[in-house]
């Protein structure tokens, strides 16, 4: 049932925007139906609440780690739900009127945010699972951010919004850490169970960390010193949001959390003392700054900080009276402070004024607002018979009954006196004094603007005059839920002449003096500007600047601009990770047995050593030509290695590629400085050598380990069995390339095609004119010119044969294309580009494009016949009595041939063109 109410709230607030826009000026009254309905629904729980029944509800979410949407409605949650939905209703009504001059969009956006916030708030106070509570908690922070920054065009609003987000969400992270630690310690995220097992939690090793996280989260949310500074800045929010979030509900969420964990803090050594110390400092800072503040809303904000301090103090105090006083004060404060915010909003709406000292005599123009302000202020000042009076009586009673010494009492008297002064200043001054002031009033009172304040202000009187229902259904159960046992609230009320009444009298006396001397006090304190440089806000600003500086330094260190440094870091990290993995696994690398090693054949072994020597020579070579030739040597040896180990296809491909690489790079090096002077210091070379050696060592160990593992042969066996039967090819490597994994090969020749386009765009003709002028060819040796046809034709014929026999014997499109490219390279080097192009007749790019098209198209017949792309179709023809079996696979391989040939030729022409420039 609870979850369906919450679901209603989620659905309603999510759909609110379009509805509120349609409603236009009536959005306030219309949208208030949602919170009003929820309020009535929650009221239905009153009988259960007074009977002490706790309603629970649960939906599974991630049961495996103990996270569920579990909710519970006990007295304390009930109190909050009534405040949230009740004040929510009035806030929505008020917003509709407050935004009377705004566009429909703006009004709808504001009301939607308010309703979403209400939902998040309900979720937070109903959640029994701490993770769920955290989610709703952070949702309220984010909505608070959006509401403070509602006027996004204002830099002030944006700054304040970001500040509140950083502080409250940052605190939220601390809370999350505490929640996770709690879950890890107790094995549950259930708030009920955690409260029940508070002694166990307090005795655990993690207790100080958990307490710290909870406190930081709660202090950030409830604006406790030194995290209080975001709250006065949050007054940038439109006033209805300030009334709702920043006085009545959201800022009390921290109190809610602390109260829920009160037993835990009680069992923790010094837990109560820390809470009390923070609370007292917060009270003093709030009261002091309230005396200095100029704006109506700022004065209210600082007095809210002081009030929140009082609430934390009540959490810290032991004894049942403290809990009773806390419940009374939460309700009393919500009622009178929300009213006063409404009043401040109405005054600003009507006059456009925000500074208190400019206001006066407004009672003539805003009579109902003035009455509401007066009622709320009387409650705030704690005069009988208002609710504020009763809650203050409880407060002092709690202090007398608790075991703490006299300091909290003295602070409480002082701070309460300031609150009395504030109550007088914010009501008497703007409304009833200074009647001689001329003030332009642009808007009169409208029903929407007065419903909220007058109802809340009246409630502050009604509840105290007839407390029966509240005591039985709200205060009593709430106290029972937090304190653990039932306390007779009605009987606990202080009567007659008592020390408590005396304290109230003292508070009123000092408060009256503060009110009378408000102006000189305010001026004296106001001019002490040096105070501003010592407050928490400037520490916050300094911290942000430090973070900026630090990230700048980090960015400059990491982004140093030396490519070699980046590469070194990446490779060193790779070696370190791989090496660490090997060592940390604790498993020694295996060494192949003699059988797995295989017989060492002398010839191949010597060849391998020569290849290694080639690599080392390349690394040591001073000149670039030498390095290139040494790399080529290593490549050729690799080709031989393929040759003697049953991979003739690879050997042929590698041979052709090495030849072409040498040809192309030689052409390119014609234009480059060959000296290749030393670019690394001796120290850098040493470090690089060490890194390279470490990489080699790690890889060597890995390769040895791999050599002693059982090879996986299933895939190879599959291809070996099916190659001829299904794809009619005897060369299994070629069949894999053109048929089984044809799509992969298609991807690879696409890459090669793209590379040819890239090289052509880098090195091709840079202008139309350049494209039309022939390229001068350098002189080449006569003997080379004379003998080149002897190479060209045999190579070309060989390439075509290689291509067509590739499906059944050694060869294929890749090798064929490379061989053909070699044939043209010979001509191009001996006779120049122009003659080669004449012989080729078409542009190399056309070869690439045509080849790619052919390969792509070769898969289409298979799609028509077999329904799968690139499954090749075969047909037999009889020519002169010979049966020739042909298939689309041959077309595919021809495409590969053309792409490779065209790509290599565009490289070659590009490099030769560059050399001739």
């Amino acid at each position: 049932m609870i979850s369906s109410l919450l679901a209603l709230s989620i659905a309603g607030s999510s759909l609110a925007y379009p509805v509120a826009r349609r409603l236009g000026r009536w959005a306030g009254w219309g949208m208030a139906l949602l919170p009003a309905a929820l309020f009535v629904a929650f009221l239905g729980y009153a009988p259960a609440s007074s009977a002490g029944i706790v309603a629970t509800d649960s939906l599974a979410w991630v049961p495996s780690i103990g996270i569920d949407f579990s909710f519970r409605l006990d007295g304390f949650s009930f109190l909050f739900c009534l405040l949230i939905t009740g004040i929510g209703t009035l806030v929505v009504i008020y917003s509709g009127a407050y935004f009377s001059d705004a566009t429909d969009r703006e009004r709808a956006r504001f009301i939607t945010l308010i309703l979403l916030f209400m939902t998040a708030m309900l979720g937070a106070v109903l959640a029994d699972n701490l993770i769920v509570l955290y989610l709703f908690w952070e949702a309220t922070s984010i909505l608070s951010f959006l509401l403070i920054g509602f006027d996004a065009a204002s830099a002030h609003a944006r700054r304040s919004a970001l500040m509140s987000l950083r502080v409250t969400v940052g605190g939220g992270l601390a809370l999350l850490a505490a929640i996770i630690l709690t879950g890890a310690t107790l094995g549950t995220f259930s708030l009920t169970e955690v409260s029940a097992r508070a002694p166990e939690l307090a005795a655990s090793a993690w207790a100080p960390a958990i307490a710290g996280g909870l406190m930081i989260g709660a202090f950030a949310k409830s604006a406790q010193f030194p995290l209080h500074f975001w709250l006065p800045n949050a007054m940038q929010a439109p006033t209805p949001a300030s009334a709702y979030l920043h006085s009545a509900t959201m800022v009390k969420l921290g109190i809610y959390l602390l109260a829920r964990f009160e037993p835990f803090f009680g069992y923790l050594p010094r837990g109560r003392e820390v809470l009390l110390a923070v609370a007292l400092v917060t009270m003093l800072v709030g009261a002091f700054q309230a005396l200095r503040a100029e704006n109506f809303k700022s004065v209210l904000a600082y007095s809210t900080v002081a009030s929140l301090g009082i609430l934390v103090m009540l959490v810290a105090l032991d004894g049942p009276m403290a809990t009773v006083a806390m419940m009374g004060f939460i309700v009393a404060h919500a009622l009178y402070k929300a009213t006063l915010f409404f009043v401040a909003g109405s005054v600003q709406h009507a006059t456009g004024l925000s500074k208190l000292r400019l206001m006066g005599g407004l009672g003539r123009y805003l009579p109902v607002t003035a009455v509401a302000a007066a009622l709320a202020s009387l409650s705030m000042a704690g005069l009988p018979p208002f609710l504020g009076f009763i809650s203050k009586e409880f407060l002092f009673e709690a202090q007398i009954q608790s075991t703490t010494d006299a300091i909290p009492m003295a602070v409480a008297v002082l701070v309460n006196a300031v609150i009395v002064g504030v109550a007088g200043v914010v009501t008497l001054r703007p409304f009833f004094l200074g009647r001689d002031r001329e003030i332009e009033v642009r808007h009169g009172e409208r029903l929407g603007l007065i419903v909220g304040p007058i109802i809340l202000a009246t409630l502050g009187l009604v509840i105290s005059l007839d407390p029966g229902w509240m005591n039985a259904s709200v205060f009593g159960p709430a106290v029972a839920a937090v304190y653990g046992t039932t306390v007779d609230v009605t009987a606990a009320m202080p009567h007659g002449l008592s020390p408590v009444l005396l304290l109230s009298g003292v508070v009123l006396g000092i408060g009256a003096l503060i009110f009378v001397f408000w102006r000189p006090i305010h001026r004296r304190l106001r001019v002490q500007l040096w105070l501003d440089s010592y407050d928490a806000e400037s520490a916050y600003e300094a911290l942000l600047r430090r973070i900026d500086d630090l990230s700048l330094k980090v960015a400059r260190t990491v982004q140093h601009g030396d490519l070699r440094g980046y590469l070194w870091t990446v490779m060193a990290a790779a070696v370190a990770l791989a090496g660490w993995g090997m060592i940390a696994s604790g498993v020694l690398p295996r060494i192949p047995t003699a059988e797995e090693m295989g017989v060492v054949r002398l010839g191949p072994a010597l060849m391998a050593l020569v290849g290694l020597a080639g690599g080392l020579a390349a690394a040591r070579a001073r000149g670039l030509i030498g390095a290139m030739l040494a790399v080529g040597l290593a490549g050729l040896i690799t080709a031989l290695m393929f040759m003697v180990n049953g991979a003739p296809d690879l050997a042929l491909t590698q041979f052709s590629v090495e030849s072409l690489t040498v040809v192309l790079l030689t052409v390119a090096l014609l234009t480059l400085p060959l000296a290749g002077h030393i670019t690394r210091s001796a120290g850098e070379r040493k470090r690089d050598m060490a890194l390279a050696a470490a990489m080699s060592a790690v890889l060597f160990v890995a390769l040895m380990d791999m050599g002693s593992s059982t090879p996986v042969t299933e895939v190879s066996a599959f291809y070996g069995e099916r190659s001829y039967i299904e794809a009619f090819g005897r060369n299994v490597v070629n069949v894999i390339l053109v048929d089984f994994r044809g799509l992969d090969t298609l991807g690879e020749i696409t890459v090669i095609a793209a590379s040819s386009v890239l090289v052509w765009s880098l090195l091709g003709p840079q202008s139309r004119a350049e494209g039309q002028t022939p390229i001068a060819s350098g002189r080449s040796a006569f003997i080379f010119r004379f003998t080149s046809p002897l190479f060209f034709w045999p190579l070309l014929v060989l390439s075509v044969i290689t291509l067509f026999r590739g499906h059944n014997a050694i060869g294929g499109g890749f090798v064929g294309g490379l061989t053909a490219a070699l044939a043209f390279a010979v001509v191009s080097l001996s006779h120049g580009i122009e003659q080669t192009r004449r012989r080729l007749r078409i542009h190399p790019a056309l070869l690439v494009g045509g080849g790619l098209t052919l390969s792509i198209a070769s898969g289409l017949p298979g799609m028509l016949v077999h329904g799968t792309y690139l499954t090749h179709v075969w047909f037999e023809t009889s020519v002169l009595g010979f049966t020739i079996k042909q298939g689309t696979a041959t077309l595919f391989d021809m495409g590969v041939y053309l792409v490779v040939l065209g790509a290599v030729l565009s490289y070659l022409f590009g490099f030769q063109r560059e050399a001739a420039r």
């Binding site: 991979a647 670019t679 850098e684 299994v732």
Partner: protein
């Protein structure tokens, strides 16, 4: 032979890394070329050296018996060609850089730095 070829693969890799860490772009691309070769040698070893016969189904037979592993070969065959294309592209880039900067040393090519501080760009007001 496992030891010998492991030595070849790992050794060539180290040489490639050493060259790649140079500041001369041509040396870097030669190093990268060496690196591709060494990786191919390593992939080849995943098929072991169980036979020296090529993976070609003999006439009269329908299935492959007792030959070298065809799968690594298919992988390497395309890798060789792609590695070649990569080397060529890098060479083309080096040629372009030389054409515009008269240098192929990375620390001397500073046209990006001359655009200004990448971290704190000048405010355009």
């Amino acid at each position: 032979m496992t030891v010998v070829y492991a030595l070849l693969g790992a050794g060539l890799f180290g040489c490639g890394v050493f060259m790649l860490l140079s500041r001369n772009m041509v040396r870097m691309l030669l190093g990268l070329s060496l690196l591709t070769t060494s990786v191919n040698v390593m992939i080849f070893q995943t098929g072991r050296f169980r036979s020296q016969l090529p993976p070609i189904i003999p006439e009269g037979s329908e299935q492959l018996v007792n030959s070298a592993d065809p799968v690594p070969q298919a992988l390497i065959l395309t890798a060789i060609v792609i590695g070649f294309a990569l080397t060529v592209i890098l060479m083309a880039l080096a040629l372009r850089v030389h054409g515009s900067h008269e240098s192929v040393v990375t620390s001397e090519v500073r046209s990006a730095e001359s655009l200004g501080d990448p971290i704190l760009p000048e405010k355009t007001t």
